[in-house]
């Protein structure tokens, strides 16, 4: 996990953050990841991933407004950086190119 590489779970979290726009904070990201991946994660795991992504420069963040639902505490809203988006795109391209190379007969095995 060292360096600038994007782990699998991190990628999930980063994608979820991108899709949520202004409403991206730990709880919503958790819901988003859970609905798409069809499994549950602990909130602390989401936190850990978010802070790590921020450390690596894939995300930036600012504090939002306090709300009643949060017991009067402010939330940290995350936004992808351009570097983050670039990395996502790079990952996707890499996968696409790998997909291209799979022969049709192999893909048919799963049918």
């Amino acid at each position: 996990m060292k360096g600038d590489s994007l782990g699998e779970f991190e990628e999930l979290v980063l994608l979820a953050t991108c899709s949520l726009g202004e409403e991206a904070y730990a709880n919503t990201i958790k819901d988003e990841v859970e609905t798409h991946s069809q499994r549950t994660y602990n909130l602390s795991a989401i936190h850990a991933a978010l802070y790590r992504l921020e450390d690596k420069g894939f995300l930036s963040s600012h504090l939002g407004d306090p709300t009643q639902k949060r017991g009067g505490k402010r939330k940290r809203i995350f936004q992808p950086t351009s570097y983050g988006i670039k990395s996502l795109k790079k990952n996707r391209e890499m996968r696409e190119s790998l997909w291209q190379n799979i022969p049709a007969s192999t893909l048919n095995l799963a049918k």
Binding site: Y25, N27, N42, L43, Y51, R52, R70, G71, K73
Partner: protein, 865 residues
């Protein structure tokens, strides 16, 4: 709005760093609201807890100023410097290591024995509810409390006092078991306990054959231990077998059960349990056999109130003068175990004095070892003062010095512990032998043992490291850099007083060990008029052929003389004392024959020995001892001119005085000589008697087998059990003899450690004075003058130690000696010798070290700058 549980939130706030705490707390709060919509409260709370616990992540933790990697770095640094230092100063390390190892090993061994003592009977069920009933007879107040009471008391107590739920009575006897196999008889002397069926209520044991309910229900029932069953019959399946004892021919016993051996840590030890014949037990009878009686009470009962109730209930129903004058006392099982004065024959009283001495010695030796370490380390720390000075300049504070010295002492203590464990493991067997008692528990596999040992060592290291740390951190760094703190007098007073303390302890131990040894020699050797190592004692027998046996013994050439008696010297004598006599003191009767006086070398002051030719006259006369003669003269009950010529009823019959002998000691020297009569008793076959046989010492084995052959010929139905009289005497003083051995071992250890400490101190003193010595030599000082220079300061210390130690030693040993009726006085010679030897010892220690320094070439020393 749902309120999340408070406790996990508090926990979270405690560990989370302040920059993250708000946002995560908010996220948690929001998540909790969502969970409560879909899940039960319990589930949500649990989830909340779990999430907080999962959030223990390093990036969230509060940051502390000193980070852990710094700590590890310093630790590694200190360990490294400690290792280098100890390798560089090998003699210093050696003294420290060996002193500490010996100290720890000694205390460890002693601690094991003390813990053994404390853990005795730890698994006995409800032992706090068990009490021993003791009696006190106002008519015989000098006898104190008796551990055995009227045998009818136990059942009466259970019947009349509802607070007392159970009772069991016991009497321990050494009986001879006879096994007949193919016309061949073998005899075994075994420990019997006569008891009630309730025995197992008190002291539960696991049955191999039979069960608690079926055994000990009627006269003749016997229960064997596993080991005895194997010894006698070769198998444990012996239920229903017949068991014969020669001690009671007229009663047949049958084995009803076999139990596992009593645990070695149990106070109750036996080989056979026999049902106690109860039909004559009635508290209303004025006379009765005595039994050790144990009761079990309800949990809520106070023993003092119960005692009063027992006395109130029992007094009206007893009869007879003796019983009317008897009161009862309850003694808890624990107290009974340590009561050496009140014997009930069942539990062998444990020696509290020994444990106390052990504990004291253990603490002292450990303290001596720690003082050694502290003193040497402090001295060395000052000597390498420049190192400390530089540390201070770089910014080392008090904490850092503390950390450094504790690291060093921890390393040292744990290395010593390793050596000490090896020492203990190899020396333990010989130590067990020295005090004649193996350890009851195996400590090496006990996690508690290791836990306590390791925490004690950590504590020890902290104590040992604190003083040097404080001392060093007190100096200003300029003082360090100037380099003169090695000669500083700061803390010197404390170091000197510690050395004084060490030597004081050593001197006290030397004096005590010498006094104990002298006293033991005195009581074992001095006061006897005969040679106990040449007298064989044949134990209790009832046979009408004993007289014949005695007379036939003269056929064996190496037998000098033989005598049949109830009372061999060396304790547990058969005594009949009567308080009805006119002299106001109990008088002790010993039944003897005509050879007894000659065998024990009685010195007749007046009168003469019994004449075997005139047994009928002998029975009307007695021999008395000097103490009784003085008593008769002072009381003079008949008020006549010649009181010793009168007839008196000392015990049962009126008798005349045939002779008066000089006092001899029949018991341990803790007791003063009692007024005694020696009555003539021809061997009639009804009394339990013993035979004393005096032999000439060479060819012991052959003589004993010749005696045994004669025994089997004359008295074939009894076992031949014998011992030498000197071993019987030694048994009286086992605890003193052990005390003597132990004292001498530990005194040597204390002396060794103290000398090591002194040696180390002198070593440093010499090193810091090398230049002074050099200059003195250049100015013309001789070697002896320089040696004396170092010795002078040490002599001061030893002198002070003597002043402190001698009064303490004198006082302690005097009070120990006063426990004996006959004792030596602490001789001035002993004290002077002790003082001289400690001076000589100190001188030699210092001399070895200072001689080299005094002989060194002053040029080498002075050039070294």
């Amino acid at each position: 709005m749902h309120q999340p549980p408070k406790a996990p939130l508090k926990l979270f706030r405690w560990f989370c760093s302040s920059e993250r705490v708000e946002e995560i707390e908010g996220d948690l709060f929001e998540a909790y609201q969502d969970w409560r919509e879909t899940k039960s409260k319990l589930n949500s709370n649990w989830l909340y807890w779990w999430t907080v616990i999962r959030s223990f992540r390093f990036y969230l933790m509060k940051k502390h100023t000193s980070n852990p990697s710094m700590f590890l770095l310093m630790l590694r640094h200190f360990i490294k410097t400690a290792f280098r230092g100890s390798l560089k100063h090998k003699s210093h390390t050696f003294i420290n290591l060996s002193g500490l190892s010996i100290g720890i090993a000694t205390s460890l061994m002693l601690a094991m024995f003390i813990v053994d003592e404390v853990r005795m009977d730890y698994d006995l069920k409800d032992k706090e509810l068990i009490y021993r009933v003791e009696s006190y007879n106002a008519l015989r107040s000098q006898e104190g409390f008796n551990g055995r009471v009227h045998t009818g008391l136990g059942p009466t107590l259970v019947e009349m006092i509802p607070e007392i739920t159970h009772q069991t009575r016991m009497g321990k006897l050494n009986w001879t078991v006879m096994i007949e196999e193919d016309e061949k008889r073998s005899f075994f002397q075994e420990e019997f306990i006569l008891t009630d069926s309730t025995f197992f209520e008190f002291f539960p044991l696991e049955f191999i054959h039979g069960s608690e309910k079926q055994v000990l229900t009627k006269v003749g029932d016997a229960v064997l231990t596993e080991s005895l069953a194997l010894k006698l019959y070769g198998t444990t399946d012996v239920v229903g077998k017949e068991l014969n004892t020669t001690t009671r021919h007229n009663q047949q016993y049958f084995v009803k059960g076999v139990v596992k051996n009593p645990k070695p840590h149990s106070s109750i030890q036996f080989n056979i349990l026999i049902f106690k014949d109860t039909h004559l037990d009635n508290i209303r009878f004025p006379l009765s056999v005595r039994s050790a009686t144990y009761i079990k009470v309800l949990r809520s009962v106070s023993p003092k109130l119960l005692e009063a109730k027992i006395n109130k209930t029992i007094k009206p129903i007893v009869s007879g003068k003796t019983m009317k004058a008897t009161t009862f006392k309850l003694s808890s099982f624990h107290d009974a175990k340590y009561d050496k004065h009140t014997d009930d024959t069942i539990i062998e009283a444990r020696d509290k004095q020994m444990s106390a001495v052990f504990a004291m010695v253990a603490v002292f030796i450990l303290v001596l070892a720690i003082i050694n370490y502290t003193n040497l380390t402090a001295a060395r720390a000052l000597q390498r003062g420049q190192e400390a000075g530089i540390r201070k300049i770089i910014g080392a504070g008090r904490k850092s010095f503390f950390f450094q010295f504790v690291t060093e002492s921890t390393l040292m203590c744990f290395s010593s512990l390793a050596v000490a464990l090896l020492l203990t493991a190899s020396l333990l067997p010989s130590f067990e032998q020295a005090i004649n008692r193996p350890l009851l528990f195996n400590y090496w596999v006990d996690p508690w043992f290791w836990g306590i040992v390791i925490s004690a060592i950590i504590l020890l290291s902290t104590i040992a490291g604190i003083y040097p740390a404080i001392l060093v951190s007190r100096f200003r760094f300029s003082e360090f850099i100037k380099g003169n703190i090695a000669n500083s007098t700061k803390g010197a007073l404390l170091r000197k007083s510690l050395v004084i303390f060490q030597f004081a302890v050593a001197i006290i131990m030397i004096v005590s060990a010498t006094v104990v040894k002298d006293q033991i020699d005195f009581i074992i050797n001095k006061k006897l008029t005969y040679k106990p190592e040449q007298v064989i004692l044949v134990e209790n027998t009832v046979s009408k052929n004993l007289g014949l046996f005695r007379d036939q013994l003269s056929r064996i050439p190496d037998v000098n003389l033989a005598s049949v008696t109830t009372s061999p010297p060396g304790g547990s004598s058969h005594r009949v004392s009567s308080d009805r006599n006119v002299f106001g003191q109990a008088i002790y009767q010993h039944n003897i024959d005509h050879n007894y006086a000659e065998l024990l070398n009685f010195e007749f002051i007046s009168g003469e020995n019994f004449n075997p030719e005139k047994p009928s006259i002998n029975e009307e006369e007695v021999i008395i001892n000097e103490t009784l003669a003085k008593l008769i003269q002072s009381v003079n009950p008949k008020n006549v001119n010649e009181p010793l010529a009168e007839t008196y009823q000392f015990t049962v019959e009126p008798v005349k005085i045939k002779g008066i002998i000089k006092d001899i000691h029949m018991e341990s020297l803790y007791e003063s000589v009692k007024p005694m009569i020696f009555a003539y008793e021809p061997s009639n076959g009804f009394n339990v008697s013993r035979v004393l046989i005096e032999i000439r010492t060479d060819q012991i084995q052959e003589t004993i087998s010749a005696i045994e052959d004669l025994w089997t010929e004359v008295i074939p139905d009894q076992g031949f059990n014998f011992q030498f009289l000197d071993s019987r005497f030694e048994k009286l003083y086992t605890s003193e003899i052990r005390l003597g051995k132990i004292m001498s071992i530990f005194t040597s250890i204390a002396i060794l450690i103290s000398c090591m400490g002194l040696y180390g101190l002198i070593m440093f003193s010499i090193q810091s004075k090398t230049k002074e010595v050099g200059i003195r030599k250049v100015m013309g000082a001789s070697v002896s003058q320089i040696v004396m220079l170092f010795n002078k300061q040490v002599f001061w210390l030893i002198g002070l130690a003597v002043l402190v130690a001698i009064p303490i030693a004198y006082w302690t040993m005097n009070s120990w000696l006063n426990g004996f009726a006959y004792h030596i006085d602490i001789s001035t010679l002993t004290i002077i010798l002790t003082i001289c030897s400690s001076f000589v010892l100190a001188f030699l220690t210092v001399f070895f070290k200072s001689y080299g320094a005094a002989n060194a070439n002053p040029v080498d020393v002075l050039r070294s700058e």
